[in-house]
Amino acid sequence: MQIFAKAFLGAALATLAACATPEPGQNFADPYEQRNRKIHEMSKRMDTNLLRPAAMAYGKTVPDPVRVGVANVASNLSLPSTVLNGVLQAKPELVVNNTFRFVINSTVGIAGIFDPAAKMGLTKQDADFGGTLHVWGAREGAYLQVPVLGPSTERDIVGKAVDAVTNPLSLMFPPQAIPVTRGIKVADVLGDRYRFDNTISSTLYESADSYAQLRSVYLQNRRYELGMSAVADETAYDDPYAETAADPYSDPYADPYAALE
């Protein structure tokens, strides 16, 4: 397993070295747009026919406190992996925070069903291997629509694969437990799809160009998570009043993230 992970990591880093970079004037790279759009249409059909109906059924039959408990367990199970990535990203505060969260919620919180750690001020901090690659200097690469997984980037899809094979959970649980943890993950996805139905459905089904909207929202949110958005660096804010002062639309697609490159 570990040898495989190392080999995979080597291959992954080699792939990232060849990552796509944005065209001038664009703040993202989407060289696979045609293929991405096809996958996006496929994902939408899957959502319409399978995911959304299942999520609605789950949301309506399972009472709210149970759904919250399932989401908590899923979140708790993701913690060991965030701790590992916190170590790789040299973020001691995150490592300590999430380790305590895991210990407290797994015990006092009864296998993570409840979240007493949050009430003690230990709120969840996210970390994944895509973020680790970012910290190590990897670029975002091309935007990707991935079947089943949805929007991603070259860097983040490599991160997802590495997280899947290096998840410390596999050392904590016997192999027989895998179907259970997977089941919880699936239920958690259904729960999220149900909870955020308004936002997700309006983006997917009511946008003029749902592919472009999803791409924009995903990349903005992902860059924010990695601390590279205007909210993290104020100089990157677009000032519509400053635009009016000069030629308002000389560069309407001015890269709000340019200051960070």
Binding site: D64, V68, Q220, D238, P240, Y241, E243
Partner: protein, 200 residues
Amino acid sequence: MSEFIMTRRGFTVSAVAALIAHAVPAFALDQAGASRLVGTVVDSINSVIASGKSEAAMIAEFERIFIQYSDVPTIARYALGVDARSASAAQMGLFTTAFTGYISRKYGKRFREFMGGRLEVQSAKPVKSFYEVRTLAHIPGSTPFDVTFLVSDQSGKDLFFNMFIEGVNLLLTERDEIGAMLDQRRGDLDQLIVDLKKAG
């Protein structure tokens, strides 16, 4: 109703002075004013949600709040992007009205998601020509998340002109959407205005 706690008070006098000299508004926007505006908006929205009115009535209320507290002409112009340059004043006026209704319906419909929640002001600071007010949204069953407002007085009043939810810039997202709608109509702004009246 909502609870506002100023957790940081890094007040930059020189920046405010620069702002006064630069903008010469009727009254200068400062840090406290910027967070007060956000507080007022949040309280207004919360009372609409708590009113338990019909969705149509709530959307009408939200439209009123949006017009009162945000710089609608600047938001609409930004959302239209390059095409605002070639639009006539009459078209801009019609577009702004249609856009206001569209935004109110689109986001007004989603108020229920925020029921029982509250926004807690974390900090307010001057950035460029405006103020950034950071808040933390507490919604039952969710990890608290960042909602950031940008507030400016360049219209002559303290008004907000952009909002970021976990890094997602609503102004930019709407510019993408309006751009896509315009592309679908081969750049026909008049047709977009007609359709926008029903969209959202």
